[in-house]
Amino acid sequence: MQGLVVRYGRLVAVRGVSLTMASGETHVILGRNGAGKSSVLGAIAGLARPAEGRIRWHGEDITAWPAHRRVAAGIALVPEGRGVFVTLTVAENLRLGGFGLPAATRRERVEEALALFPFLRERLAAPAGTLSGGQQQMLGVARALIGRPRLLVLDEPSLGLAPVIVDEFYGQLARLRERGVTILLVEQHVERALRLADVAHVLNLGELVVSGTPDEVARDPRLEIAYLGVKP
């Protein structure tokens, strides 16, 4: 099966970034803040329009598609800051994830999501705001999964979470990976992300600097340069 192709350039944030994903792979994008990671995700999810370049999804050019259309096509983004509605209950958040689906299908999918994150079952009627940060992050992922996305995109999921919670979260991601979900991850925690990924990309100042297997990238001196910002 073909995967995702992103190739675009934009003077301000990102320049000539290209990456290709095949189904079932887990990719991670690393880089400092301001390197353009969120911009790339924004372009993939449909929040931002690239000035140049194309995005191809299973052979179709989706560059001009608005965000909600891409969701229908199977791309689900869990944005920075978890992406849950704190004033709605857990159950309502999950319902929103399956907004366009017929009721029966939606109920099925919610059951699946609850099977993956059983702690949510006890909190169905509670406002999402009463969940801890880590639980909200997992609710955000559960919600995204209801649409049975073919590509799950996560923007800095460990941001603001205590280290022990991040451990737990990555455990869940690993389980998803085993089930064959294609994952694209943006992260600051180099170590953790590299352990999970099949392919890693490093962004520096808006340009794709390195791409390869985690081992290759970890040993590549350009990774350090990208992070420590050694200036020429």
Binding site: V71, L88, F99
Partner: protein, 289 residues
């Protein structure tokens, strides 16, 4: 019927209309966090068009009501398209000012098309009160007003709390940026919200026409501001608050009128507003942000 009962009835009739109007404002503010100052003019225009059409075409009462609702809903959608969309959801003050501009357009248009500022009367005269319900003596029309208002208020509340679209509206109220990521187009929800809101204003206008017997092209600003005042008294963004405040103000105004406060009558909503805010700075049922 005793004078007390009469006053109470007047208060309820007035309050029912107030509550519907306040509900229309609250829906927009509660969901979009935006203020629209054009609803007074929408109220006026819907009633005007409905009554003029009824007059010219000889429409039955129910159809007149439907015309008012449809006109209201359309103008509501127009508010979204011409005032809110160009400004965007993130700039509440600019959006409110834009609705002021829109209100001016509506009012100027209505006055020019109508040709004069005289009121439009109902085709048929209102029936006399002939039903007895406990201590109250009312006409079928008055009963109709109260019943419709009550049903619509309950239905609106239920819609927002339980239905799929109501849930999407509440989600939008919390975070407009998050919705497209769920595959829910924000535009559709804002249009729906404004359409329902406009329809409520149109319905309120029709019910007022049934009570008073006429609609004046100059009525827009005053009633619009009172609607805003009621929403504030009830607590911004609170649907139950709007209903409580609306009915409450109706009753207070009716009693004030029966006591005879003279020229202070028009200041009653505003005095009530100041009093409530001093005691509860977020309105009766409002929540601090």
């Amino acid at each position: 019927m005793t004078e007390l009962a009469q006053t109470l009835l007047n208060g309820l009739l007035l309050g029912a209309n107030y509550a519907l109007l306040a509900l229309s404002y609250t829906l927009v503010f509660g969901v979009l966090r935006l203020l629209t100052l054009a609803h007074g003019q929408i109220f006026m225009a819907a009633g005007l068009v409905a009554l003029v059409a009824a007059d010219r075409q000889g429409l039955p009462l129910i159809v007149t009501g439907l015309v008012a609702i449809v006109v209201g809903a359309s103008l509501g959608v127009a508010t979204d398209l011409f005032a809110f969309r160009p400004v965007g959801l993130g700039r509440p003050i600019a959006a409110a000012v834009a609705t002021i501009g829109f209100a001016l357009v509506i009012e100027n248009t209505a006055l020019q098309l109508r040709g004069s500022s005289t009121a439009v009367a109902l085709r048929e005269p209102l029936p006399a009160p002939d039903l007895v319900l406990g201590p109250f003596l009312l006409s079928t029309v008055q009963l109709f007003i109260l019943a419709i208002a009550a049903v619509v208020m309950v239905a609106t509340n239920a819609f927002v709390d339980r239905s799929r679209w109501g849930m999407a509206m509440r989600a939008l109220a919390e975070s407009p940026r998050l919705l497209p990521l769920l595959g829910i187009p924000v535009g559709r929800i804002t249009v729906l919200t404004l359409a329902i809101s406009g329809a409520l204003a149109g319905l309120a206008s029709f019910l007022v026409a049934l009570r008073n017997g006429s609609v004046s092209p100059l009525a827009g600003t005053d009633i619009g501001l009172v609607g805003l005042a009621i929403m504030t008294i009830g607590g911004l963004g609170s649907l139950p608050g709007a209903m409580v405040a609306g009915i409450g103000l109706g009753i207070v105004e009716a009693f004030a009128s029966s006591i005879g406060v003279g020229t202070f009558q028009s200041a009653v909503p505003w005095l009530l507003l100041v009093l409530i805010l001093l005691v509860r700075p977020h309105g009766i049922l409002g929540k601090p942000e």
